[in-house]
Subunit: 105 residues, 2 copies
């Protein structure tokens, strides 16, 4: 099995300081060597029906399932989860082994 | 603005031939030069509550929003969407400019 991805699709609560949460997440990841790469984004097309109200996506990549597990179970991550969940109205979490059909050039 | 990602989180209907749909999607993407990269995955941890019933994730990457739009509006894509939607019980679609916090090594 190759790379494993940790996907979080989130809807922030109204009035929450999204930027602060994003900065805290970036800081967390910077201290976690087992996180191979990390990107995020905010919905751009605004098709409310298709995105089901979600506003942000976070994607982390790990070399394998063991690295993902060590991240999920790390005290810094579990501490962060409390703050993160308090800022969210809804979240979808999806972990999957990445099957690459068309690799980046 | 840099790369743009097209994320689809899907739940297939019971009894649907998932492999055939995946093959049709791989074939579609292979003919679409504007799709820079494509990967997919099936949920591995089985935490039903966190994944909200979704079973598969598809992530396509484009160089920019224009390439994404040309893919979404391409007749081969709109044809495929009909078949794809018929196989799905639920789908979440999320388009976003990728903000890379930690680039792949």
């Amino acid at each position: 099995m190759g790379e494993v991805k940790h996907l979080v699709v989130a809807k922030f609560k109204e009035g929450v300081a999204v930027e602060e949460t994003l900065q805290a997440m970036a800081q967390l990841v910077s201290t976690m060597d087992m996180v191979k790469s990390f990107e995020w984004g905010a919905e751009m097309l605004g098709e409310e029906m298709l995105r089901q109200g979600f506003t942000h996506v976070f994607i982390m990549t790990f070399n394998n399932g063991e690295d993902l597990a060590s991240y999920l179970n790390h005290p810094s991550h579990t501490d962060f989860i409390g703050t993160f969940q308090a800022a969210l109205e809804n979240a979808l979490v999806f972990d999957f082994p990445s099957v690459v059909i068309k690799p980046p050039a």
